[in-house]
Symmetry: C2
């Protein structure tokens, strides 16, 4: 039997679905965000940072995955106020759009109209964690509040393209797809003509349609189904819209109960993309008529983008884009990376979506009762970073570690600290070994672990002579990896220099590095 234990120790673990970011993961992300922020700033967008915590009522319920606990957010209730009522329910923001709508309402008298703002930071979703699926991730948004003009949508799309290029995605490696929800609304409206829906017979037809599956589907249900088009294809969407579908795992997903002819009409819309924007617009007009507001907006956006010099190689109208979020009211956008990567199983696949957005004209009205049109885009920062890594745009050459000043003589710690200080004063990244110095091998191992280019060594003998040794660790590693001394003949593995020349010599050796 084990001996009696002390109190149980806490587990040293991130909570399920959360993770940590180390070193270059942090600095590369920040550098990319700074490049994107510079683009947003140049377009006249101002920075905004809202607090991570909002009241649940301000956030509203717009997450697509409404079946999750707490409607997908991390929420808790404030302590009751003494003498007051029960405490507010608070929650971590699940995106940047809901807080912006709250800000636009709260500061409506102080902000310029229209208000252009960008925001970067973490958001949280209370979803079931899974491999590569995290409950905290970073978004990078830009939005314009207070303009109903298609010019504001076109601006967001054009700026998104520029931001992706600033982040490191080459022209030709991405495309922004644009659609308008009102076109789909038109398609759905034509399924049940007004003349029918407005009288009792029409209503009973609608009821009958719905009773097929006993489900009261809404446009949102249909949107969410369409959003799976990429995954399940044409036939899959028809099955999901009508009688249901068995997925790859054999599980049966119930259908929405539309008639086959209705589902076919929806799919005709989804696949109405022509080879040019002009052709697509003409297809859409045939489907929903000439007077559809969505088609008009898409036409205006396409024409403004052309004037701004964005060709159809960068932005195209694509009716299959719907976006999952419930709050979009008009144009919707999605930026997709068009190159292939190898997935976890070694299969080639398209990288897919890295950003999305659209117009949400009703979000601010929730607070104020007054219509405030708004449009914007959100870049999925973690996905974009992993795309840049996959393309070798970042993370290829490991960051160079610091010069490590080793400790040969514990009593002369001050001297070693002063050496590192001198190097840093010259702008050279440097540190003193602060572990137990008695084993020199451990110090060299540490320097290796730190990816150090050079180690500084000064034992009591060197100290007495006023010199230091500068050891080339890159050369050492190359030799250990099988490089011939021939290639390195101009580069000594170790050099003894006067203490006074330490900085100059280190700088020279760092510049010599390949």
């Amino acid at each position: 039997m084990a001996a009696a234990k002390g109190p149980r120790r806490p587990r040293a673990e991130t909570p399920k679905g959360f993770r940590d970011w180390f070193g270059a993961e942090v600095t590369e992300r920040n550098a990319m965000l700074a490049r994107i922020a510079a683009v947003y700033d140049r377009w006249g967008f101002d920075a905004l940072e809202t607090s991570a915590v909002e009241t649940v009522e301000a956030l509203g319920k717009f997450l697509p995955d409404i079946d999750r606990p707490n409607a997908g957010v991390f929420a808790w209730q404030e302590e009751a106020v003494p003498g007051g009522g029960s405490g507010d329910w608070l929650a971590l923001r699940y995106d940047m759009t809901a807080p912006l709508a709250r800000v636009a309402a709260q500061y409506r008298n102080d902000l310029p109209t229209p208000y252009r703002r960008y925001a970067m930071g973490p958001v949280w979703r209370n979803e079931k964690p899974g491999p590569g699926r995290f409950r905290q991730f970073t978004q990078c948004d830009a939005d314009t509040v207070g303009s109903a003009s298609p010019a504001s949508d076109a601006e967001i799309v054009a700026m998104l393209a520029e931001a992706l290029e600033a982040a490191g995605i080459a022209r030709g490696d991405y495309v922004v797809r644009v659609n308008d929800r009102r076109v789909l609304n038109g398609v759905l409206a034509r399924m049940v003509p007004d003349s029918l829906a407005d009288n009792d017979i029409g209503q009973s037809v609608v009821k009958a349609m719905r009773s097929v599956s006993e489900q009261h589907f809404s446009n949102e249900d249909i949107l969410r189904t369409i959003d799976k088009f990429d995954k399940v294809g044409e036939q899959g969407v028809i099955e999901l819209l009508t009688d249901g579908r068995k997925d790859a795992s054999g599980a049966f997903i119930e259908g929405l109960g539309l008639f086959e002819w209705q589902a076919t009409e929806v799919v005709a819309f989804l696949t109405s993309k022509g080879s040019t924007n002009t052709e697509t617009l003409s297809n859409l007009k045939q489907l929903v008529g000439d007077d559809n507001e969505g088609v008009a907006a898409l036409g205006a956006i396409a024409s403004l983008l052309a004037t701004m010099g964005l060709g159809e190689d960068r932005v195209i109208i694509d009716p299959s884009v719907v976006r999952g979020l419930g709050y979009y009211t008009g144009p919707v956008f999605e930026a997709e990376l068009t190159f292939e990567i190898l997935d976890d199983k070694g299969h080639k696949r398209q990288f897919g979506s890295v950003a999305g957005g659209g117009r949400y004209d009703d979000l601010v009205e929730r607070f104020t009762g007054q219509k405030v049109p708004a449009t914007g885009v959100s870049i999925g920062v973690d996905r974009l970073l992993s795309a840049l890594r996959a393309k070798g745009r970042i993370g290829q050459d490991q960051a160079t570690g610091p010069v490590v000043v080793t400790v040969m003589d514990r009593d002369r710690m001050g001297d070693y600290l002063a050496m590192a200080n001198d190097l840093r004063a010259a702008g050279i990244r440097a540190e003193v070994y602060l572990g137990n110095p008695k084993n020199f091998g451990a110090q060299m191992k540490y320097a290796d672990r730190r990816n150090s280019p050079l180690a500084i060594i000064q034992g009591s003998d060197e100290a007495a002579r006023g010199v230091v040794q500068v050891k080339d660790l890159v050369l050492g590693a190359a030799l250990a990896a099988g490089a011939s001394l021939e290639e390195w003949k101009d580069r000594p593995a170790q050099a003894e220099v006067p203490r006074a020349d330490l900085v100059a010599r280190v700088r020279a050796m760092l510049e010599q590095a390949p």
Copy 2:
């Protein structure tokens, strides 16, 4: 009576104790953090970003304000796992140190030893909100895990001084005060000599002492009382340590029940700072003897700092520094700004503390059972920013707004977007007015609100002639404020230029700006 209302609208409010940051508040903070990060990096510290959410058990209870609800954190319980037990309690981190201890334990086989890391980001405290007192604020930490050497404490202190200077605090405007908790422990130990405390009579003396106030005070109670030294002074601390004290509002705060002679001994320690570090060290030795580990560490740190060139104008030993947090085990540091500012009531006062830290050798052991020494510092970013603002180091000249392209003719929106595009391509911040264009006055008001230097105007007449008007808004504002035209004679209020020369002319006019 009011008409029947619709469903209640959500309040457009930040939750109590939270706030938003706009424009320069965000960019100035990020710029300052980038300067500090560059210092940390040069000293060999690697970036780390942990998730905002931790398990409550990993965080531990180390907040000074332990009487608050949920022990001062925002916490909630995960949904129960189906078939499993109840869900974990999760919480927002209240500092960066507890998460670092968790990381150091979780990744102990992968991280270098010692591990130097920096971290920047928000932390959350579930405290009672008050004026200027927020429940989310930004910290900027640097820590070394795995070194017990006083050199690692000295390094943190020296780096802190450099970071403050990089942030914009001039040498002479700050001082870092250093103390060691073990000196105070020595003082307290001498109140109840071991020879007493180790036997029954001693124990009953201790009990008798404590029964005076019916309170079971601990060293932590004493620490927290001492931490108020700055606020309540010598006599105040003596009252709080003994029989209690009436504060300014007339409320009575209970005392800890020490004897008067014990309180006097504590205050003798607090006020033992000499005019030099040498004198202070000698005073401390008189109080607690020659063999106190804290005094030895302070001696070592002072000597290492001197070797690194940090004089007593920048770092001094000060026994009155104790720091509120419960987890410190040895040296503690506090950076104070020494200049005076005007407070809300117009009174001059010292700006006070902007950073603090110390050694916490037991935090990682909580997880692993193995001793892992650690030391570090945390900069209060919001306080530091407000100090820089008070000193006029940031926020003095308002950021220049974008060039605003006005809209005279709604049908030529594409032309206006193209103008803004051309300006941006030349690196000039520019935007098109996207509000309702029918009222030109509103457009000029908007440009003013945006702090725009220039407005671009092109009506149908100008368009036909292929020209644009560039209007100098800075000049307009100056004239409106009473400047004479004489001062501005070389500067036309408005210029007509060919469309092709727009960019060149705008650039020239921006360069001309004062």
